[in-house]
């Protein structure tokens, strides 16, 4: 009966722990391995203008569909303006409005995105565009060019490529020259190309965006050509005619509408700044999950202050140490002082590193033990003697630190990080065992403690494990279920297989 309770409890704990883990890992994309950093790009647009006498309304086109990028967050900073997000014909629009404003005004809009190669938002399949109304003599020129390009192309993609080649020809056709006579900027150039494509009944539009790389104090939006081939949108470099999109190209807005429109203001200027940050993948997963409304995130350790996080980073490994302790004591059968002393010793090794930890610990215990035997001659009572050992341990630590500092070995300073109460207790326990059961037993248990401490240190120091436990604290339930099961382990301990070998029946 009781056995079933234990198994049931262990299974319950393991299932709960593992399912929360799987949910966070698979559904919420929490990283299971460490140091998964993601570049997060923050693009800030600032709109400067002089306010007019009346009410002011500012419209800014902002990213809607951003292939290859996922939005982390966006916000706007503007003093006294009402803010709203709307959907216009060209995509999303941010709108600020104020009844009255004085002097030069600045409005900020900021968006943070990160790369997500898998992201392909569904875009609408556009209808065939109506033939544009073009005045003569441009009309004839367009018709001639369309007819000529059609001769040299097979489909939409090759048509576009051929058109771009002709338009970029260094010694252009007179028709091309005529069409481009008004196009002084890249945007106007692309605009005229979309007009020609529309005449050929090919859906095309301009895309404006930024090539994200490093930190750019003032970034200029670059115009690119987007052509729909009946199945998907294709991107063309309007200058080279190659079908590609620059690496890390964030599409800001589409179409030929102006980026910003200010009613009631003048001298409008828009500036862009780009900044790259490296954010832990965990943070992104959390923000993402929070946006999806997964309440499990409210209990994440990453929401704690950084300092507390560091403390828990260590604390959460103690159960791992305890598990190692359980295995080594109940399944292997190693003798050690105290129940959790080795785990606490292992904790202090974290600061001193293993080699120096073992050296300093051994040195301290050896010195303390000899002092303890001296104290024994004074026949002190138990508590005063323990206190005396404690004081001696502190003095010894001080001496070790000073001497090692003199010798230029800074590692010796880390001796101060040892929990001295633990050392004093170890010395006391060891000396009692030494007196009562002899040096061999004391040495064996002392060595056993050290071995357990070293194994626990190695186990608790596994970086991937630490990350795993910290990101998925629910795994502690799995550890707990292991420990509960180990509590009902009635098989032989490993060392018993040697101890009882005389009884093996051979």
């Amino acid at each position: 009966m009781k056995q079933q309770y234990v198994f049931g409890l262990a299974a319950f704990l393991a299932i709960v722990g593992l399912s929360v883990f799987m949910y966070k890992w698979q559904a919420l994309d929490f990283p299971a391995t460490r140091n998964q950093e993601t570049s997060v790009w923050t693009i800030e647009s600032s709109i400067h203008f002089d306010s007019g006498p009346g009410s002011i309304k500012v419209n800014l086109l902002i990213p809607t569909l951003t292939p290859g990028f996922r939005m982390l967050n966006e916000n706007s900073v503007s003093r006294g303006y009402g803010f709203s997000l709307n959907y216009g014909s060209g995509g999303r629009e941010a709108q600020w409005a104020i009844r009255r404003a004085d002097g030069p005004q600045t409005i900020y809009y900021r968006i943070s995105v990160y790369e997500d190669q898998g992201l392909r938002q569904s875009d609408t399949t556009p209808p065939f565009p109506p033939p544009p109304v073009i005045n003569e003599p441009f009309r004839t020129a367009v018709e001639v060019i369309v007819a000529e390009v059609k001769e040299h192309s097979a489909d939409t993609a090759s048509f576009t490529a051929e058109l771009l080649r002709q338009m970029n020809d260094p010694s252009p056709d007179p028709n091309v020259e005529l069409l481009l006579s008004n196009a002084s900027t890249r945007a106007e150039f692309v605009d005229s190309i979309t007009t020609i494509l529309a005449s050929a009944r090919i859906p095309a539009r301009m895309v404006h965006g930024f090539e994200l790389q490093g930190r750019q104090r003032s970034a200029e939006p670059v115009t690119w050509l987007e052509v729909h081939d009946g199945e998907r949108w294709r991107y063309f470099d309007p200058m080279s005619g190659e079908e590609n999109l620059p690496e890390r190209f964030l599409v800001w807005w589409r179409g030929n509408e102006p980026l910003v429109n200010v009613e009631g203001g003048s001298n409008v200027q828009v500036e862009f700044a780009v900044q790259e940050n490296h954010l832990d993948a965990v943070v992104i997963a959390e923000t993402q999950a929070a946006q999806q409304g997964a309440s499990i995130i409210d209990f994440s350790l990453y929401s704690l202050p950084i300092q507390t996080q560091t403390v828990y980073g260590v604390l959460l490994m103690i159960p791992i140490g305890a598990l190692i302790m359980v295995v080594l004591r109940n399944m292997v059968g190693i003798d050690a002082f105290g129940t959790f002393m080795p785990v606490l010793i292992a904790l202090s090794f974290r600061e001193t590193k293993l080699f120096w930890g073992v050296m300093l610990f051994t040195l301290l215990v050896a010195l303390g033990l000899s002092i303890r035997f001296l104290l024994d001659r004074l026949r002190l009572l138990l508590v005063p003697r323990l206190s005396a050992v404690l004081i001696v341990v502190v003095i010894l630590m001080l001496l070790i630190s000073l001497i090692s500092h003199r010798l230029g070995m800074e590692t010796g300073l880390s001796v101060a990080l040892f929990p001295m109460v633990i050392i004093a207790m170890t010395i006391e326990r060891m000396s009692v065992v030494w007196e009562e059961r002899g040096a061999a037993d004391a040495m064996r248990a002392g060595l056993g403690s050290l071995v357990v401490a070293i194994v626990a240190y190695l186990g608790m120091g596994l970086a991937w494990l630490e990350h795993l436990i910290f990101t998925f604290p629910e795994l502690l339930l799995v550890v707990l279920s292991f420990v509960v099961l180990a509590g009902r382990y009635t098989g032989y301990r490993l060392l018993e297989l040697s101890r009882f070998k005389a009884l093996s029946g051979q």
Binding site: L382, T490, S498, R499, L503, S504
Partner: protein
């Protein structure tokens, strides 16, 4: 270090520490009953009330202020034993076997070493302070009669008092061994301190081979005497007394430690709620099979005498003679 297969041990019926703790101690020995065996003052009281023989108690020192009363308690007695009431594994026991002829303040330990009254007082202070108690709490020091052990064991012990450990499972004596002090064990009869444990044929009350540090031995390491074949006197009485330990303590898995005094016969020295497992090596036999047999024949209403005779009938030694001659 040589290892054997777990399966071989299981077939031999060897009981492991984990199984002992989990299936026997936790199931059969409720925590609330522990003080009956962990505190020797209580054990002594219960045993006396049940009419069992125990070493006479000279006095108890229960706090630091009473340590000086030690002299009054001892008075002119030549020999006595000082032990912590809640000690474990024989730690903290001081056996005084005599006094210096010229200086009365000097006491002779069982090893022959002389120690002063001040050193004894310090030892008592340590006991009272809790150095040897299981929990580390304050403790009491018992000063009691020093057993004048039966000469039957003289050849087989190096100083100290040999004792007989009987494992009593649900009231039935299941296995026994004689624990023989050695020089290494400093006169103490605890196996982990280096004493020799000799298995006992339950039906005959005769010693079998011995175990020293988990190894089987034929001879006492100090005296060289043959360990096996020694007839233990008062065997019936010893088994009955051990069986009665179950009524006294109500512990289902119990170790009863007894000594045989030359004049007073077998006496209970102490009882143990977590007896060790080396007794299996000493007897060359696992406990599990005997325990299973006791579970089969268990009858709540049997008297201790009946249970002792059942143990004699059921558990004759099987393998020891052959092993003895093989080696």
């Amino acid at each position: 270090m040589k290892f054997v297969r777990a399966q071989d041990l299981r077939e031999a019926g060897v009981l492991g520490v984990n199984q002992r703790n989990c299936d026997f101690i936790m199931r059969l020995n409720p925590r609330s009953l522990y003080p009956r065996v962990d505190d020797k003052v209580i054990t002594k009281g219960l045993a006396l009330a049940a009419g069992m023989a125990v070493p006479e108690l000279y006095g108890i020192i229960s706090n630091q202020g009473e340590v000086h009363a030690f002299g009054d308690i001892v008075a002119d007695r030549q020999s006595f034993v000082i032990k912590p009431a809640q000690g474990s594994g024989g730690d903290g026991i001081l056996v005084i076997t005599g006094r210096s002829k010229r200086k009365r303040e000097l006491f002779r330990l069982s090893s022959g070493v002389l120690i002063s009254r001040g050193e004894i007082a310090h030892h008592i202070s340590n006991i009272v302070g809790g150095q040897y108690s299981l929990s580390g709490n304050r403790d009491k020091a018992l000063i009691e009669y020093c057993v004048n052990f039966d000469p039957v064991f003289t050849e087989l012990s190096y100083q100290g008092v040999p004792d007989i450990r009987v494992i009593v499972y649900r009231g039935y004596p299941a296995m026994a061994m004689v624990r023989l002090p050695t020089r290494a064990s400093d006169g103490k009869a605890n196996l982990h301190q280096g004493a020799v444990g000799a298995g006992v044929d339950m039906s005959l009350g005769q010693t079998l081979t011995g175990v020293l540090d988990d190894e089987i031995v034929d001879e006492h390491p100090d005296t060289g005497a043959l360990v096996s074949g020694l007839q233990i006197p008062h065997w019936d009485f010893i088994l009955q007394t051990a069986a009665r330990g179950y009524e006294v303590t109500e512990l289902g898995y119990l170790g009863v430690d007894m000594v045989i005094d030359k004049d007073l016969g077998p006496m209970i020295l102490e009882m143990n709620a977590r007896p060790g497992l080396n007794i299996q090596i000493a007897n060359c036999e696992g406990l599990s099979k005997r325990v299973a047999r006791i579970d089969e024949i268990f009858d709540r209403d049997t008297s201790p005498e009946k249970r002792a005779s059942i143990a004699r009938r059921e558990f004759p030694a099987e393998r020891q003679t052959s092993i003895h001659f093989d080696q």
